[in-house]
Symmetry: none
Subunit: 234 residues, 2 copies
DNA sequence: CCGTATTTGTTCGTATGTATT
DNA sequence: AAATACATACGAACAAATACG
């Protein structure tokens, strides 16, 4: 077995045993390297393996941290919510609930890969309807520096894709989507016209331009009773 | 821009322009390194990038080759429960609840494209656990005529993939997956050790062999609190 | 079939850049 | 402003798998 693999294994065990709980910072690379008696490169190879597994993440200048998240399950590369809503032939509309420009929070900064010099994001919240029936609540943020005129375009156009195009972004693709089932909060239930305790499907997604730069970080809550997402069959 | 990125870009262009057609062997790492005027490590980093994109693959002792897989073979087509959990650093186990051979119902007939002469299916129900914690209930059916000895193999092996391989199916891919949020039924909640009314994620999927023939029709109910499905980021 | 040269994979060493604390 | 910590790059050597005469 390769040296870096056994080190990765040891670190994985330490994380899973709770020695390094979620969010905890691992010792520095140099520290771990000497502790395991290997070169820093070898240790970094082990870290890279854990990072690929999604078990840890690295922040330059800060450290390596334990990712806090439940079980994850890769499904496929491509999701197209708009096309895959089983409502074939329904007319989609959008109802704007909020639009503002503010500083990004931690999750948004990480997802959009913003540094501290460009903390501003345009935030957009709204309701998606099909034939007048509410289907989903969404909350999207866009890097403000890259799309300074986006709020105006979002107000004018009725689709995010069009507004982004008007801001100079011709094409973008979905990088990743995380899905989980939740219970609707009272506010969400009211917006989606659901009963209290109704199941909803939460999707957290990142869209990137063709160079891989994040352009949108979005969270969407689908009414579980009304929506079925399809993965594959592109 | 990082050096290795620009090299990856140059190589990507060369591949996409047809300079290195599908299946072709790239020059050796040392050769390319001197050609680009960088260290072999730097060039290897570029190759690693292309490999992550699925554009090339490496064979030790042989070389680096151009992958032939334009659009028809998008990544993420392979969904393997055990492998996914292992990659996440969790120990997968399976608890069998039921195994029987019976006639297919309407949905199963349609999904597996069975005609009335071959109505029999092997049905498999069970519980999937990660590190001992139940994360999903599954119900799978397989065409009995194609895999006559499958029940024995399912009992012996601890993974569906292995059992199918023992039945002569070397490889299969996911054709489509449909996702919805639901509320757990009392039975489901009890199996998954969830409270009544807990949200679950229902996935309905079809796996096909490399010729496109359906080999498995499965329904899975994930514990919403414990599982997050990931689309993309293979 | 064997031995050898080739080619990728792994490891150690060292230096410098850059973001965070 | 300084120290810390991860990121990138160059150099060297050996191991492991493959290809070839």
């Amino acid at each position: 077995m390769r040296v870096w693999e056994s080190i990765a294994e040891a670190l994985r065990d330490a994380i899973q045993s709770g020695h390094y709980p979620a969010g905890a910072k691992l010792p520095t690379e140099t520290e771990l390297a000497t502790r395991f008696g290997v070169n820093r490169h070898t240790l970094r190879r082990a870290i890279a393996g854990l990072r690929e597994e999604g078990l840890v993440y690295s922040r330059r200048g800060a450290g390596v941290f334990v990712q806090h998240r439940p079980t994850e399950y890769p499904l496929g590369k491509r999701v197209r919510f708009n096309r895959n809503l089983l409502a074939a032939g329904q007319t989609p509309t959008r109802k704007l609930l909020l639009m503002e420009t503010r500083n990004a929070d931690r999750a948004e900064r990480d997802a959009l890969q913003l540094d501290h010099s460009t903390p501003r994001v345009h935030a957009l919240e709204g309701l998606s309807l099909a034939d007048g029936e509410p289907i989903a609540l969404f909350r999207s943020v866009f890097p403000a520096q890259r799309f300074p005129a986006l709020p105006g375009h979002l107000a004018k156009h009725h689709s995010v894709t069009e507004a982004l195009r008007a801001s100079g972004l011709n094409d973008y693709v979905r990088d990743s989507t995380r899905l989980t089932a939740k219970i609707a909060s009272p506010t969400q239930a009211s917006h989606l016209q659901l009963n209290a305790g109704a199941p909803i499907l939460r999707a957290v997604s990142v869209n990137v331009d063709l160079d891989g730069n994040p352009v949108e970080y979005g969270r969407t809550w689908f009414a579980g009773e009304r929506v079925s997402l399809v993965v594959g069959e592109d």
